[in-house]
């Protein structure tokens, strides 16, 4: 029974994805269809056009196995290994280093604002 519910709910999520994809092609948007579908579903949840319980089980299933759905794309790296052979290995390290810079700078900036906010609200409470 639960499998049945999960499948129907995933089908509903696929519908949102297809509508997002269709909108993207229709309007030539630079954002991918899946993200447009996500925004559409978010709006539908906000205006209560779609109740949470209609999709929660299916979405939970997809999100727990989120990494699985990436594997076919990541395996595609096998077609490009020659890119990183020889001096191309520098490209690998540049990508990694640049990724570290993004992670640390984005994380520290957000952390700073989040903690400053906490401090301000604490001061308000104590005064």
């Amino acid at each position: 029974m639960k499998i049945f519910v999960t499948i129907i709910q995933i089908a509903l999520l696929v519908v949102f994805y297809l509508v997002g994809d269709w909108l993207q092609r229709l309007l030539h948007l630079p954002i991918p269809g899946s993200i447009i579908g996500m925004l559409l579903l978010f709006i539908c949840l906000l205006i209560k056009a779609v109740p949470l319980k209609w999709i929660e089980t299916g979405a939970g299933f997809l999100l727990t196995h989120l990494t699985l759905f990436f594997i076919p794309v990541t395996v595609g790296v096998m077609n490009h290994y020659q890119l990183f052979a020889g001096s191309g290995i520098f490209l690998f390290f540049i990508t990694l280093f640049s990724t570290i810079c993004v992670m640390v700078s984005a994380g520290l900036t957000a952390n700073y604002f989040a903690k400053r906010k906490k401090k301000i609200s604490c001061q308000k409470h104590s005064s």
Binding site: L13, F16, Y17, G20, D21, P30, I31, P32, G33, S34, I35, G37, M38, L39, L41, F42, L52, I55, G58, A59, G60, L62, L63, L66, T67, L68, F69, F70, I71, P72, V73, T74, V75, G76, V77, N79, H80, L83, F90, L91, T95, L96, F97, S98, T99, I100, C101, V102, M103, V104, S105, A106, G107, L108, T109, A110, N111, F113, A114, K117
Partner: protein, 230 residues
Amino acid sequence: MSEALIIIAMVLLTVTTFFLMTRLYQRFPTPILIPILTSTAIIIAILLSLRLPYDTYMTGGKFIDYLLGPAVVALAIPLYKQRIMLMKNMVSLIGGVLVGSLAGILTGLWLAKGIGVEKMLVTSLVPKSVTTPVAMNIATEIGGNPSLTVAFVMIAGIGGTVLSPYLIKLFRIDHALGQGIALGSASHAIGTAKAFEYGEDAASVSSVAMTLCAITVSILAPLFMMAFYA
């Protein structure tokens, strides 16, 4: 008939490998053993040793790949559940994403151009921190090769996710917001999957950061390319 067999075999190979690697990671939760890395490596090793090309793998792989779209749509649920927390923290979110996007584009451009990499490779590398379909769009727009971009996006996703626990500890990113935004900005959806380990609030800010990053990089990357190659 043999076509159907290959499809079933490739789907089974992917799902079984992922299932076993997830069990391994649950038993030994070290960053280097994250299932996406170990599963990818094992599947590539199996395909290479059987001399099966990627296209053959994808006859079955595409069915798993197809679920990626609805899975991204499903990220609307943590977004919805955490909407009040997200609205309250808009400043951290936008600030973190802007700084992160700039850092990614600038370090990528400077380093790659600095060591004299040809322009086509630089343009394929620049959008690496963004989710795959958007990164491919950006690469095409600035004159890169989208299929090479996928390789860089995967390095950013997997590499960033493997290194994230060390970086978060080393730089004392101790707030759930900082952790989620770091993962989403640098390692897109692979990072977001990892952010679920830090909790639902980290995962939802991560998915928002990923989306915002896709938007800011698509605007900033063409501008910086013009400035650097004027």
